[in-house]
Symmetry: C2
Subunit: 483 residues, 2 copies
C-alpha cells in the first residue's frame, strides 16, 4: 500500500476533500500502465484467441433493464440501523462477526433479526439496540432529463451485452457459441467498501458472455486445444485437485466441454500474468453462495496475504437474462443456430473478471523484499505488464554521457515505455526502477562513447551484460513476447 501510494500505482479519489466518499480509488500513471497492459493481454489471450466480439456500452441503463435482470428485486444487502446513534451495518457481516460463524448474505431478514435478538447483538459504536433488518438495493439511481426519468448505473457490465446481443448477433453474422466481451465500469453502492482495490463502489470489469445452444454444450471442436491444460479445481473449498481439462470432463468434475474450455482459457491467461499458479483454484460454489442468476458457478480464486481472493466469477447463467429481457421488452430474442438451423434462446456462460482485484493480486504475487541485497524491494512483473520497460541512466552527468543517454532515450521511447533518470547515485536509481517493476536498466558509461555499447541490467537477477546500442530494440522486443 505504501508503494502504491508513493509510486503512482493507485490512491484514494478526491483525497484532498474531507467529504470524499469511501470505495473510490484512482489509478496513477504507474498503475494505469499496468492496467492498460493487463487489458491488452486479456484482449489477446481471451478475446482474440477465441474470436470473440468486443463492445463498449453505456453505464447508465434504463429501469426496465434491471427489472428484467432481477437486480431491482434481488440485488440487495441486508442492513440494520442502530436505533441509538443511527449507524448502519450490513446485517449478515455484523452477525457473522458477532457470533463467529459465517452467515450467508441471502439469509432472510427474519432469521437475521432472530439471531440478533437471541444473541443480544448491540451496536458496536454506541451499544444501542438495532431496528429490524431491511434490504438495501446496491444500485445507484440516476434521474434523467427535466422529467427525472428513473435509470441506474449498471451493477455489472454484462447487462449491456445481453441487451445488445440481438443487434450484435445479427449485424456481425454471429454463430453459436459466440463470446461477446466488454471492458468497462460497474457501480455498486456497497455499505462498507474496504481494502482499497478489493471492494470498490466504482470498479472495472472485463466480462465475457458466451452465448451458446444449451443442447450443444459438448459440440466444441476447439476443446481439443485445451485437453491437456492443468486445472486446479476445488469442489468443497477445502481440498484442491489438479486435473487436466480432459480428465475433469471425463470424470464429471466439470459439466461439459464449453465450461471446461473457457475455464482453461482463463487459466492460460492468468498463467501469463505472473500470478503464482500454485496458489490458485477454481472453487465450485454451493447453492447458498451462488448469485441469484447462476445455476453452476466456479470462482477463480488466488491466495493472497488476506486469504483467498475471488478474481473471476464463472457463472452458467442459463437463459436467466435473455428470458428476462425477452419478457420485459416483449421482444423475441431467439436466434437461429446455423449449425442445425434450430431456433434457440441462447444460454450464457460468463467469465466475469475483476480488473482491479486482478491488479492487486498480480502486484502482491510480484512483490519481493530481497534481504540479501540491501533490502531492495523488487516488483517482478512480466515485461509486457511492467509500467516501464526500460530505464536509461547516464552513469555520471558529464563527459557527454547525458547527451548520449538522451539520444538513446529519445529513440527508445517511441516504441517502448521508457524512463530517463539522471538524479542520484546509480544504486538509488536502480532501486527506484526495481520498485515499480522495470525489467531492464541501461547504463551509459565512458565505454559507450568508445564502442557504442551499454550495460543492460536485469531487474530480477541483477546481472549485467554489454549490448550494442543498435541491438537494444531487438533485445527489448524479444522480452515482450509472451512465454
Amino acid at each position: 500500500m505504501k508503494l502504491a501510494l508513493e509510486k503512482g500505482f493507485y490512491f484514494p479519489s478526491c483525497e484532498i476533500y474531507a467529504d470524499a466518499p469511501a470505495g473510490f480509488w484512482e489509478y496513477g500513471p504507474t498503475g494505469l500502465k499496468i492496467k492498460n497492459k493487463l487489458v491488452d493481454l486479456w484482449r489477446k489471450e481471451i478475446v482474440r484467441r477465441d474470436g470473440m466480439l468486443e463492445i463498449d456500452g453505456c453505464q447508465i441503463m434504463s429501469k426496465s433493464v434491471f427489472e428484467a435482470s432481477g437486480h431491482l428485486g434481488n440485488f440487495t444487502d441486508p442492513i440494520v440501523k442502530c436505533t441509538g446513534c443511527g449507524s448502519t451495518f450490513r446485517a449478515d457481516r455484523l452477525v457473522s462477526e458477532s457470533i463467529g460463524k459465517d452467515i450467508p448474505e441471502r439469509t432472510p431478514n427474519d432469521d437475521l433479526d432472530a439471531i440478533i435478538g437471541r444473541n443480544n447483538i448491540r451496536c458496536p459504536s454506541c451499544k444501542g439496540q438495532f431496528g429490524r433488518t431491511t434490504r438495501f438495493n446496491m444500485m445507484f439511481k440516476v434521474e434523467i432529463g427535466p422529467s427525472a426519468e428513473m435509470a441506474f448505473l449498471r451493477p455489472e457490465t454484462c447487462q449491456t451485452i445481453f441487451v445488445d446481443f440481438p443487434r450484435v448477433y445479427k449485424t456481425m453474422r454471429g454463430k453459436l457459441p459466440l463470446g461477446v466481451a466488454q471492458l468497462g465500469k460497474s457501480f455498486r453502492n456497497e455499505i462498507a467498501p474496504r481494502q482499497s482495490l478489493l471492494r470498490l463502489r466504482e470498479f472495472y470489469q472485463a466480462e465475457v458472455e458466451v452465448f451458446c445452444n444449451p443442447h450443444r454444450l459438448n459440440d466444441l471442436p476447439r476443446f481439443e486445444e485445451v485437453t491437456d491444460t492443468l486445472l486446479r479445481i476445488s469442489k468443497d473449498g477445502a481440498s484442491t485437485q489438479e486435473v487436466t481439462a480432459g480428465d475433469a470432463l471425463s470424470r464429471g468434475i466439470l459439466p461439459n466441454k464449453l465450461v471446461a474450455y473457457y475455464l482453461a482459457l482463463l487459466n492460460d491467461f492468468y498463467g501469463k500474468t505472473g500470478i503464482d499458479m500454485h496458489r490458485i483454484r477454481f472453487r465450485q460454489l454451493g447453492d447458498e453462495e451462488r448469485a441469484f442468476y447462476a445455476s453452476i458457478a466456479f470462482d477463480f480464486e488466488v491466495e493472497t496475504s488476506i486469504g483467498w481472493l475471488e478474481l473471476v466469477a464463472c457463472n452458467y447463467r442459463s437463459d436467466h437474462d435473455l428470458k428476462g429481457h425477452s419478457m420485459v421488452s416483449k421482444e423475441n430474442l431467439e436466434v437461429i443456430d446455423p449449425s442445425d438451423q434450430s431456433k434457440v434462446l441462447p444460454h450464457v456462460f460468463e467469465l466475469s473478471m475483476g480488473i482491479d482485484r486482478s491488479i492487486y493480486a498480480i502486484l502482491e504475487h510480484s512483490y519481493f523484499e530481497d534481504f540479501e541485497h540491501d533490502d531492495r524491494v523488487v516488483l517482478k512483473l512480466q515485461p509486457y505488464l511492467a509500467p516501464v520497460l526500460v530505464g536509461i541512466l547516464p552513469l555520471v552527468n558529464k563527459d557527454g554521457l547525458s547527451e548520449r543517454s538522451q539520444m538513446i532515450y529519445s529513440d527508445l521511447k517511441r516504441e517502448f515505455d521508457s524512463y530517463y533518470d539522471d538524479s542520484g547515485s546509480i544504486g538509488r536509481r536502480y532501486r527506484r526502477l526495481e520498485q515499480i517493476g522495470v525489467p531492464f536498466a541501461i547504463t551509459v558509461d565512458k565505454v559507450t562513447l568508445q564502442d557504442d555499447s551499454v550495460t543492460v541490467r536485469q531487474r530480477d537477477t541483477m546481472k549485467q551484460e554489454r549490448i550494442k546500442v543498435n541491438d537494444l530494440k531487438k533485445y527489448l522486443r524479444e522480452s515482450l513476447q509472451n512465454r
Copy 2:
C-alpha cells in the same frame, strides 16, 4: 447512420426497451476497434510525444469538488416549462429558433423571459404559455451509502486531474510545464440530446491539462519542434488564415509559446486521423461563448455535413480550478517550479477532446460513394485506424483453397485485426470489407497452391498485386506506420 447501425459501428443503448433514455449510444465491435485505435494514436502523438502523465480516476466525485469547480453554481442550462402540457425546453434554443437569431446560453433568465413575452413565443407542442425561465443543473446526482451522501457524476474528466494533481506532481517528480492526461467518461444531463454521437448524455473525453508557471509561458524550448507547423486560425468565425505556429506567435495571433505549441501538437494529431485538414480551423471564442472557467479559448472545429463541429475545446483555465479546490479543501496546492525554485499555483491550459465526435468526423470525412465502380461505399480509413486491417478470402470454397486461407488467417490474426470471409461472390465480399474500411483484401486462388503467392487488393485504388505469403507480415506492418 445506416452503415453505423448495420455494420456494428454504433447504435442506441437499451434499444430493445421502450423506456430507453435518449442520448446514450453504444460502440459495436467495429466502432470499438476504431475508438481504441484512435485512443492509441492520441496516446502516441500527444501523451507520449510530449512526455505527459496519464491517470484514470473515478467518475463519481464528491460534492465539494463541484462546489470548488463552480459546476454546482454555473453548470446550468436555462429551461422553460409549458404551463399547458408540461413539456420542457431549453430556453435559449427555443428562443433562438423562434426568432431566428442566436441567443447565447448564458443570457440571464429575465432577458429570456422578456424575449419570450415580447415575441409571444408559445409551446411548440400544445401552443400553451410558458412559465418563467429557470436553471437546470446538468450534473447527474448520485447518493452514496445508506446515509445518501450527495455526490455527482463528473461533467468533465478534468476535475479528476485537478484534484489528483498534488499527489501526481509530487510522487511522479513533476516539472512545470507538466501535461496530465486522462481518457474517460463524462456525464451531462442534456435537456435535448440529439444527433447520435454528437450530443450525448454519457460520452468519452480525452483530456489533457497542462500545468504551467504563468510567468514562464514563453519558456518552452520544445516549441522549436513546431515553429513551422501550419495552423488554420479564425479569430471571428468568418475568415480563416493559415499561418505557421511561429508566425502566429510573432504576429500576436496566438498569445504565447505554450498555447501555440499545444495547438500545433493537436493539429499534427488530427492530421494523422484522416480528417481533411483543409476543412478544419481553430476558432477563437468571444467573451459570451467561452465556458465560465476559460479566459482564452479556441475551439478546434471540423466542417461536416451538418456544419462546423467542435471536436476539441482548448481553454486557458488560468488558476480557476486549482484556486477553487485550494479554497474549498483548505489545502495549499502550490508547487515548486524546479526551473527557478519559485512557489507557484500553476495555471492550466487544456485540450479537451471529444472522442465520440472525433470518431463521427473521421467517419464522415472517410466516407465515399464511388459511382464509377458499382456505387461502392468505401470508408477510406487510415490503416492504423481501420477496425480490420486485412480480409482473407478464398476465391472459391474448393480445391483446398479454404484450408490454405484458414492457415494464412490463423497466422495473421495473432498480429493483425483480420477477418475471414468465404461466403458470397468475391465482389460482394470486397464490398463488405470496403464498407467498414478494411484497407487490404487477400485473395487465395489456385496460383497460391503453386507458388505461395496471393493477391493483395488495395481498398482505395482497387489495384491488385501478387505477394508471397512470407512477405505479407512485412507488407502489413509497413502499412501501419504513420505517414
